[in-house]
Symmetry: C2
Subunit: 161 residues, 2 copies
DNA sequence: TGCCTAGTTGCAAATCATTCTCAACTAGAA
DNA sequence: TTCTAGTTGAGAATGATTTGCAACTAGGCA
């Protein structure tokens, strides 16, 4: 629920021109309550302005990622499709259920502890980490253990885009 | 340095037919001392047998991944290209230097601790995790801090394929 | 030891998310 | 208002991976 002026300011502060297209994309991400891919963002954007092209959405997302206004992530093993979210919230990680496709956000300090430890050990400097968990959510895990004897390894990943 | 018979056995034990193509791909991964992508594996395979097709290499890698003989991973942010390694070694994670492209393998218990903790907290069951670190290696980090005032955010990732 | 068939291969075409080209446009500094 | 570096739309290009299909074959069984 931020005013257009606030979004404009965010762009300018990060050295990006505040074009109508960028304002719309940023607003969509601001208001989104789930993680969106470029195609979905494009569709929503076209409700506001039917002339925003998919290419511009991609270009905008890349810019927003470059200046760290938005983070880009992958879900489960489907690293073909990129998802985006605004970087407001605290650091968190994503778990995707292989059965129902649900994405669960999780927090832990252990990952950063690991990075600190490894940085010291190896003398490296971390700048970015891609991490995605997959498995079975509480709703799907029980059903699965019933089937585990009949089904070998066929997991259907339902992406709800 | 495993005999062909050993590789054949590994395939059969996992329910895969031991075709000449698969034996070659598996052998390449067995002997590799670095992480390989499909294209590279295909080129090496073609030294042994010039008729192995790239499609077969891909199909073989997917099978080997399915039965957990081989693990598939990504490096840094370039999740367009998949890399493979045989799953012999202890669990480890991959750090890629954004300047020189070097890949450093790192071990830590912290990640699994995090997963155990999160599994308990959220009642989920983890089955696979994709994780890749990126940043600057000890060789490149110093040079970078000298340039940090002149260069804004142009990192060249040298992929050595 | 040959037979049979479900599984595998080679080849080429298809896929498909993302990037690129380029001419027309514009945000925002001066 | 002017000027220009940065941005856009449209569509073509990219490129790693997958797929369709007809020809082959590994390996279980007789
Ligand atoms: Mn999130
Ligand atoms: Mn490794
Ligand atoms: Zn689920
Ligand atoms: Zn380096």
């Amino acid at each position: 629920m931020q005013t257009k002026q606030y979004l404009r300011q965010q762009l300018n502060e990060h050295g990006l021109r505040a074009t109508p297209q960028r304002l719309i994309v940023l607003q969509i991400l601001e208001q989104a309550e789930r993680h969106l891919d470029a195609e979905t963002i494009s569709q929503i954007a076209n409700i506001h302005d039917p002339y925003i092209s998919l290419a511009t959405v991609y270009r905008t997302l890349n810019k927003l990622k470059d200046v760290d206004l938005v983070s880009q992530l992958y879900f489960a093993r489907d690293h073909k499709r990129e998802y985006y979210e605004k970087v407001d919230k605290a650091e968190h990680y994503h778990f995707t259920c292989l059965t129902c496709g649900k994405v669960i956000e999780m927090q832990t300090k252990r990952i950063n502890q690991a990075k600190d430890e490894l940085a010291g050990e190896h003398g490296v400097a971390f700048s970015h980490t891609c991490m995605c968990f997959e498995g079975y959510c509480p709703d799907c895990a029980p059903k699965r253990s019933d089937l585990i004897h009949t089904i070998t390894s066929q997991h259907t990943l339902n992406h709800e885009h």
